[in-house]
């Protein structure tokens, strides 16, 4: 979806090419996902030569909003307040460097005692 939003419209091959920098999915995998998104009304498609050309049927903000609402509905019983409370409580931000520092701290303490 990010690729189609960025390009405005794209073929399956173009989306696949854009995804090559990371893990490279098979052409058929990208095609299946895009067909399903079209069936769900999230993408629109029309034939251009031999290939389908896809364009977004839903604005990014609108889709993100509805996905977030669905997620909050499933995880927090629809309570945004609980989702926000959880995010405030979340123990995020411990990166690899911090984990290594904590590990050293434990080892140092163990050596001393």
């Amino acid at each position: 979806m990010a690729v189609v939003w960025e390009k405005g419209e794209a073929t399956v091959q173009e989306v696949k090419d854009s995804l090559e920098s990371g893990r490279s999915p098979a052409y058929t995998t990208v095609m299946t996902v895009m067909s399903r998104l079209a069936e769900k009304g999230i993408l629109e498609r029309h034939k251009e030569g031999r290939a389908y050309l896809y364009r977004p049927a839903t604005a990014q903000e609108k889709l993100a909003g509805s996905m977030l609402r669905a997620l909050i509905g499933r995880l927090y019983g629809g309570s945004s307040a609980h989702a926000i409370a959880h995010l405030i409580e979340a123990d995020g931000g411990v990166d690899d460097a911090e984990l290594a520092r904590l590990e050293k701290l434990i080892q140092r303490k163990r050596t001393r005692s």
Binding site: A81, A85, D91, G92, G93, V94, E98, L102
Partner: protein, 329 residues
Amino acid sequence: MSTLEQFLLYNLLPGLVTGALAWVAVLAGTELLRIRHGSLRFCLLGFPLVKSTLVVLGVGMVLPWPREVFGAWHANALPLRTVLPAYLAITVAVLTGRALRVRRARQLALRDTVPAEESSPRLVRALDRVMTAYESQEARLTGVCQYAPIPGRPELLVTGRSLHSPLVVTTGQPAIVFPERLVHDLTDKELQGAMAHEVAHLCLRRHTICSTENVRAMVAVNPMAALMAAQLHREEEKACDDMATVALGDPQTYAEMLLKSYRFATRGAVPVFETLQYVPQLLGIKPMLSERIERLLDRPKAEPSLRLQYVAASSLSVALWLIFFSDLL
């Protein structure tokens, strides 16, 4: 000005301001007076929530002085008789929703689990040792938090589904659900540490009225509760760490268990909320894992006695009442 605008400006906003002030006062007071006892800290942290809720309801000012400033703000607030019916209706709806969610949460937690006796004898042994340690160290545990043994041995279940960390079920028969893969990651001693932590949660949640869950349920009626719940969550984890290290007697191994459990929880995590997880840092809150491990390892040799902590907590309560409630006297 509409009633809603009046409520937002003269009830809710002062409620948030006073709650924040009381919160800072409690945190500063507990640190200055070195109040470490878990239950005392829980009680004191309930204070900002009570004060904030009362101001939202139109009872009392942000601070009793300067009266010209806060008195004028309070004079425009919707009175208790106007706010209370709506407030009670929302509270009843919230509590009903919570009761339903608790039932559903139990069903979800126990889904796809098997008794540990069938699949993980190491885990069962760890729980046995922890239960014995908790029973034999009751006096020392009481010095850490308001400890009361849980009636009977909790049900111990293992799950193969993707669970990020062990969880406790407090409704009905107490139960501990443990992720199967985590059992393989931890040594026997670390498993005991993890078990001791979960049993501590069971003890605390049964005996603490001002529990994180109860406070979190109030978010819909007082947004200040989100901040309070976050703080109480940290306090609860710390109190459980204290109880578990008393039972285990080895803070280093316990700290290693915390580190391994964190790595397990974040392994292969999809970074959907990666940006949002930095919210605690933006709020200036130190990552909880770092705080927990550092305090386990850098514990001062001489903690204030329990009696001294009770005296300090009582003095702090009186001071807080005088500062925040003297306008009601």
